[in-house]
């Protein structure tokens, strides 16, 4: 059997004119290929195989009618001329995108607004807090009045008459700090943040406790009495601790502190109008009475101020107290009731204390 020549077969299949003719599409080539067949008797096998292959592989494309194609063209040209590049598929995607955008828009707006207002609020709040750290409040207990002050952190301060306390509207996070003139009893809320009391005496550092500070301008001593907990005083740069039941006296002139064990009630009784004087000079007692009752007390004989009293006062009236003081020492008092001033207001009451010569002065 004659050798199969693949090259001839491939050559024919590669010839587009041959393929067209073999499919029966181009009859003009018929003569050419018929004579080719005659002139190549050795390759008749390859030729016929190629023809059969082409005939086999004739694809019957779906027959779309000319009218249908023309209709499709009409639609296509309409689309091109209207400049609408969108197919139904693209239109669908476009529509979908629009809907998505429309749905997304309010979400984005709302979230943007929320974010903005959140930011705004935070900003405003921190500004406010900043302001409040700087803004200070001063509470004054006038002469003759006692006041309970609620501090921003929940701590309490009882202000004795003629005292004032200054503190920020909101404590900052690193420290709590108040300024005190006069006398106050503190009940400090426990917290990690240290609490400082600045007065005429040493700076007091507190962690959560109850104590009394007496720091009037007209007293020589600043008295700090600790009821409970732990506090420390910064005495000339040294931290000195105070234990419950201890009282520290700070000499303002000498800038030195002495600590004793004592009854703290003695120092904090004023909150209930209770004063306990243990071996206290008359002048000290009179200073307290002046503050408590808003009067002026004059010692006509200054040496009388050195009389020392052991006395307890419990909400008695001023005249009762003066009587009490007069009984236990050879003094007398002259209560001058307040006079009406020309502008319609009253002067403060005036009391004069002098030695009672009619009584024998007992020497102790």
């Amino acid at each position: 059997m004659r050798q199969w020549d693949q090259n001839i077969f491939e050559e024919l299949i590669s010839n587009t004119q041959f393929v067209s003719w073999a499919k029966g599409e181009d009859l003009s080539e018929a003569e050419h290929w018929n004579s080719w067949e005659k002139n190549h008797p050795l390759h008749i096998n390859e030729f016929r195989e190629a023809v059969r292959m082409v005939k086999n592989l004739r694809f019957g494309a779906i027959d779309i009618k000319t009218a249908d194609i023309q209709y499709l063209w009409a639609k296509t040209s309409e689309r091109i001329q209207l400049g609408k590049p969108s197919s139904r598929f693209r239109q669908f995607i476009l529509q979908l995108t629009k809907v998505a955008a429309l749905l997304l828009l309010p979400v984005m707006l709302v979230s943007a607004w929320l974010l903005y207002s959140q930011y705004n609020l935070t900003q405003k709040y921190s500004n406010l807090i900043q302001d409040k750290h700087e803004q200070k409040v001063t509470v004054v207990a006038p002469i003759g009045a006692r006041i309970l002050v609620d501090l921003p952190d929940g701590s309490k301060a009882w202000l004795n008459s003629g005292s004032e306390i200054t503190y920020p509207i909101i404590f900052n996070t690193s420290e709590r700090r108040v300024n005190l003139t006069g006398e106050a009893y503190f009940k400090i809320q426990k917290s990690e943040t240290p609490f400082y009391v600045n007065s005429l005496g040493p700076e007091i550092k507190v962690y959560g406790t109850e104590f009394n500070v007496n720091s009037y301008v007209d007293e020589e001593m600043v008295t700090i009495a600790l009821a409970d907990g732990k506090i420390s005083m910064d005495v000339n740069g040294n931290e000195e601790f105070l234990l419950p039941g201890q009282v520290a006296f700070f000499d303002k002139k000498r800038s030195s502190a002495t600590t004793i064990n004592s009854e703290v009630n003695v120092y904090s009784g004023w909150r209930e109008g209770k004063y306990i004087f243990m071996d206290t000079s008359l002048s000290s007692i009179l200073r307290i009475l002046q503050r408590q009752h808003n009067v002026k007390i004059q010692l006509l004989n200054p040496e009388l101020g050195n009389y020392r009293y052991k006395v307890s006062i419990n909400n008695e009236s001023l005249e009762q107290i003066l009587n009490l003081l007069s009984i236990s020492a050879p003094i007398k008092y002259n209560y001058k009731h307040r006079a009406l001033k020309p502008d319609g207001t009253f002067e403060t009451d005036n009391i004069e204390i002098s030695a009672d010569k009619t009584r024998i002065i007992k020497t102790k």
């Binding site: 299949i13 008749i44 059969r52 779906i62 689309r79």
Partner: protein, 206 residues
Amino acid sequence: MNSASLKLIQLQNAWSNFKGGDFASLGILFETHYQELFYYGIKIVAMPELVKDTIQDLFADVWERRNTMVSVDNFKAYLIISLRNELVHRINRIRKESLSEAIATLQFSFSPEDFLISTEQNSEHSRLLSISMDGLTDRQREVILLRFFHELEFHEISQVLKMNIQSVRNLLFRALDKIRKDMSDQGITGVENVEMFLFAIFRKKN
């Protein structure tokens, strides 16, 4: 002048008029190529509406690019390459959006109805042919379609399939070998083969 060359001249006229900005000539090109493109398209993906839309967009694109279109000779190959790329692109997008792998592309599967039956063949022949085609790879079926249906030259097919010309030839002729073998195994022989058979017997007797 025969009808085929008349068609060719008409096509060339339409092309030069189209290049000159004649919109109606684009219509002639559209009507000339539509059937082939549609058939190729639904062999890539069996979604007739998508194929129709893509062909319409393709011609809109052709109109916009008329000034950069070079030659009428390559025009059909250009259309086929563009259609193929665009369809594959769109299918991938649909797949991504619907998260579905269900849509099959580039299978080029053929049924017996895809083949024309000539007078000396019967429906059994078409059935066996489609079975034989099933045994080929997707690419082999595509190369057969491009060569025998679209009558693209090898260099054009190499652009469509993005492979070199020699590889295209190997792909095609290996596929044809297999079809030839399948068809002769099934006893599908023409008169010529009977002659050869007799000749062989005669030679042996000698």
